[in-house]
């Protein structure tokens, strides 16, 4: 077994990229797991790369501890922007996880769960909708009350129980299709953009998607939302299910590449980064790399686009707001500072930056479910940093971070005084408020 695994490591890992690490250690202070493990070298990017390289070179066996270190990495990729040699750590991690996954014999329940998630559910947006329907029923009927009362979920490992409480209320399934494939912007047309729906964003976070549409239209954008699109595949890629990720990537490129748009807009840092990484994902697929590059060059986060367009005057009631950036938005999409710019444009609120905001919140895809101990240690520190800002609103730019911050608020029992929102929901609130006030003013004027 071991030797097979080692052989695959040798065959599949990019050795030149491993050599690119000079072990200078500049990545150490940027790594949340290094810091939260009491500075354990094995929990750092430099250490993990050394382990991968050691396995490839046959100096060390890929034993359980090595695998555990690779699993414990958040994949936040904060080590990449600080690396002067430009080591593509995220890609190395994905390669290593793919190899491990190929050789892994999971226990039956885990195997079924992985199959259900990766091969079934997240492979089709239709199935995501069906699950949404089930969730709706769960909330509508007595089921949810019973489950919560019985404390059944506390039996599950990790933070399943907290997470169940913080996911947004399910919108009625029939509303999920309240959008057109092409929608015109309001007023003067500024841009024509395609919208990446996202599998979870299109269902569980449907309201956030609707807010995004409202903002785009307010900024004068024509929106094209191709029906054929699928999940971005980031979850698969990070989980070592590369084949599945490749399939999804190809379907998405096909759905978007002929739309003649200025940009492909994503409102989730994790998905946007997944889309940005398509050229790497498809590097070995004949004829696809170029198409992937043309596609990924267009991928832009909603905050970046909005920061460059005019939304008109924005105002919200007097509150202190802080921001927990999405790691993948900053470290992979390399789009930084735009959410802050947008927050500063909103009158009434005061934006206070928190220390170490560029450190991952511990959500990291499904990390908080599979590595709850480390995730919660990181989250608890994050909540200390939040408290120092005195903010009553924590803004996020990715659904995973949003749920994690909500979980943090629950854990600290702050649900009465602090809330977490996605940046687009916050901005859309300001616009809805403005529209209703203008509506009132309009009505008043008409009466006179």
């Amino acid at each position: 077994m071991t030797t097979d695994l080692q052989k695959s490591f040798k065959e599949q890992m990019d050795y030149d990229e491993l050599m690119n690490c000079t072990r200078c250690g500049f990545c150490l202070p940027s790594c949340p797991t290094y810091i939260n493990s009491g500075q354990n070298e094995a929990s750092s990017p430099r250490g993990r790369i050394a382990l991968m390289k050691g396995v490839v070179e046959g100096r060390i066996e890929p034993d359980e501890k090595v695998e555990q270190q690779l699993n414990e990495c958040l994949g936040c990729r904060a080590c990449e922007p600080v690396c002067p040699s430009g080591v593509q750590y995220g890609h190395l991690l994905e390669q290593a996880r793919t190899v491990i996954n190929e050789h892994k014999s999971y226990s039956l329940p885990v195997k079924m769960l992985r199959k259900a998630t990766f091969n079934y559910l997240f492979m089709s947006s239709k199935r995501m909708h069906r699950v949404h329907q089930l969730r709706w029923l769960y909330e509508k009927t007595l089921a949810q009350k019973l489950v919560r009362a019985s404390k059944l979920l506390t039996l599950f490992p990790g933070e399943v129980e907290t997470m169940e409480r913080v996911v947004p209320k399910t919108v009625p399934p029939k509303r999920l299709n309240e959008w057109e494939e092409v929608e015109k912007g309001f007023g003067k047309q500024t841009k024509r953009v395609a919208f990446f729906n996202g599998c979870l964003m299109g269902t569980m976070f449907y309201e956030t998607n609707q807010s995004t549409r409202l903002l785009l239209k307010t900024a004068g954008c024509e929106i094209v939302t191709p029906k054929k699109q699928e999940c971005c595949g980031a979850l698969h890629a990070h989980g070592g299910e590369t084949e599945k990720a490749i399939q999804l990537a190809k379907r998405n490129i096909e759905a978007f590449e002929n739309l003649d748009v200025d940009a492909v807009i994503s409102n989730a840092g994790g998905c946007g980064a997944g889309l940005k990484d398509y050229p790497f994902l498809l590097r070995k697929e004949a004829d696809w790399e170029k198409r992937a590059k043309a596609f990924s060059d267009k991928v832009t986060d909603i905050s970046t686009l909005l920061a460059s367009l005019d939304l008109g005057p924005l105002e919200l009631s007097d509150e202190v707001v802080t921001y927990q950036p999405s790691c993948h938005l900053e470290n992979v999409m390399k789009e930084k500072g735009n959410v802050e710019k947008l927050l500063r444009k909103v009158n009434g609120i005061e934006y206070v930056a928190m220390v170490d905001k560029d450190k991952c919140c511990g959500s990291a895809g499904i990390y908080n479910l599979v590595q709850p101990k480390m995730a919660m240690r990181i989250l608890d520190q994050k909540m200390v940093d939040v408290a120092e800002t005195n903010a009553s609103v924590i803004v996020t730019s990715n659904p995973g971070c949003l749920l994690q911050m909500k979980a943090g608020i629950e854990r600290e029992r702050l649900t009465d005084s602090v809330r977490a929102v996605h940046i687009v929901d916050l901005l859309a609130d300001a616009i809805r408020k403005r529209d209703s006030e203008e509506g009132d003013a309009h009505a008043v004027r008409n009466r006179h």
Partner: protein, 474 residues
């Protein structure tokens, strides 16, 4: 493999959580930032106090097992690779700032504190801790003290040794001694503090240090001077110093290094220039203005293409940060980067620069150069591939020539990175055999069992000293 009973005894001292001999842990403490060196320890231990360190030393002494003290493993001389196995001693649980004394202007710290935290803490009290190695965000004070690290501010402010006033040290026999103290003067016996600074973990284990702080300079200005050839830039450095101006920072960067740094930092560095000098002066506003003006004039007189002043603090910070990334940024160019640390009297800088250039051509190897020019300390860095053995041989020859030249010019084989395992074979080139023997005698007296970081500083075999052919005879 450590004897089972020994492991048991170590666990009794620090507990199960802070000692391990797992393969994975031993593997990740087998390297430091030096390319081409690696050796696994037999165990890794994390003490929390001086007493624990003493007990660990006694146990290791009983079983004759080496101890390798390790900070963040960023040294560049193979100083922490456990060449003879043994246990790696980490200070991750001894990383507190113990005291800041504003009356005596000192700070007392444990060895695991990061350099940057010392700098920031000093600034918090409106004081200044000047030593700032490029690695300051990651390096520990313990590492800095044991390598006697320099930094970008060395020219005016000196190096780590100038800021260490007192130490608490566990010796190889398990005894604790305290050297120096919060004293401006102290001649009670040998200056053990200075001896221990730069001792690379071979003479004792530092468990506490009292550092000197100075008042914070009021003002600071940064400028960048561009040159169309390397020698002119180097000559300008000597010229500035000869004109009795001592800037805080005077860094040299050649074109290929500049290109590599720019591709990382993306701040619009002038990659067309063949060489640049990064110059910084701090102090009273009037002095800064005067010195900056003088240096600008000298640069222009010597033939700089342009000299520009950073417009804001942020721009100045970006420039120095970019300079700090030089070594690692260069790694983009080739799989292996080997960097050297030759240092000469400042007046000889231009000579060293042209010699490095010629050497690179002579052996057909790519050498980029940057460094603390004001200290006469250059880092000629070779871009190569450790898998290409033939090329590696040429690289080694080229560096041997550069060492020999540096020594010939009255310089040294290493200015700030230390000897470690990497430069041990060359030590006698600088010290002579008698010099090495004197040092060996000190080591034997303090550590007769050779427990502390064995295999470092002193080589089993010295390299045969190269005598460089005279220019004419070539």
């Amino acid at each position: 493999m450590l004897p089972k009973e020994m492991e048991q005894e170590l666990i009794e001292v620090v507990g199960k959580d802070r000692f391990t001999s797992s393969k994975e842990q031993c593997y990740v403490y087998s390297y430091d930032a030096t390319p081409g060196f690696q050796a696994e320890p037999d165990g890794v231990i994390r003490p929390t106090s001086t007493t624990e360190v003493q007990e660990i030393v006694r146990i290791c002494s009983k079983y004759h097992v080496p101890i390798v003290p390790r900070g963040s493993g960023t040294n560049l001389c193979a100083g922490t690779t456990p060449t003879s196995g043994g246990i790696v001693l980490l200070f991750t649980h001894m990383n507190s700032i113990l005291e800041i004394d504003e009356e005596n202007l000192t700070m007392t710290v444990q060895p695991g504190v990061l350099t940057l935290d010392v700098v920031k803490r000093a600034e918090g009290a409106d004081l200044f801790y000047p030593p700032d190695p490029s690695s300051m965000k990651i390096s520990t004070i313990g590492g800095n003290i044991n390598e006697n690290s320099g930094g970008l501010r060395g020219l005016k402010y000196g190096v780590t040794k100038d800021y260490v006033m007192g130490l608490e040290v566990v010796l190889a026999n398990g005894e604790v001694i305290r050297t120096g103290g919060k004293l401006a003067k102290d001649v009670a016996g040998y200056d053990m503090t200075k001896l221990l600074v730069g001792s690379e973990g071979t003479l004792g284990i530092i468990t506490e240090a009292t550092l000197k702080l100075v008042p914070r300079p009021e003002d600071k200005k940064t400028m960048l001077a561009l040159f169309s050839d390397l020698e002119t830039a180097a000559k300008t450095v000597s010229e500035i110093i000869a004109n009795k101006v001592i800037p805080a920072t005077l860094e040299f960067i050649d074109q290929p290094t500049l290109e590599a740094v720019e591709s990382f930092a993306k701040i619009g560095l002038p990659t067309k220039a063949k060489a640049v000098l990064l110059i910084e002066q701090d102090g009273d506003e009037a002095v800064v203005a005067k010195d900056i003006y003088t240096m600008k004039r000298l640069c222009e007189e010597k033939g700089a293409i342009s000299v520009t002043l950073a417009k804001s603090e942020e721009e100045a910070f970006a420039l120095t940060e970019a300079r700090r990334s030089a070594l690692t940024a260069l790694a983009r160019r080739r799989p292996t980067t080997i960097l050297e640390d030759a240092t000469v009297p400042r007046s000889k800088l231009a000579e060293l620069v042209s010699f490095i250039n010629d050497t690179s051509k002579r052996y057909n190897v790519e050498i980029c150069t940057f460094g603390h020019a004001g200290d006469g300390n250059l880092h000629p860095t070779c871009m190569t591939d450790e898998r290409d053995l033939e090329e590696m041989e040429r690289v080694e020859k080229a560096f041997a020539d550069i060492f020999a030249k540096a020594v010939e010019l009255g310089g040294t084989i290493t200015g700030e990175h230390g000897v470690g395992e990497m430069k041990a074979p060359y030590l006698a080139w600088k010290l002579g055999d008698a010099g090495v023997e004197a040092m060996r005698a000190i080591k034997k007296a303090l550590d007769p069992q050779d427990l502390l970081n064995p295999g470092k500083v002193f080589a089993k075999e010295s390299k045969k000293r190269i005598v460089l052919a005279r220019e004419g005879a070539k």
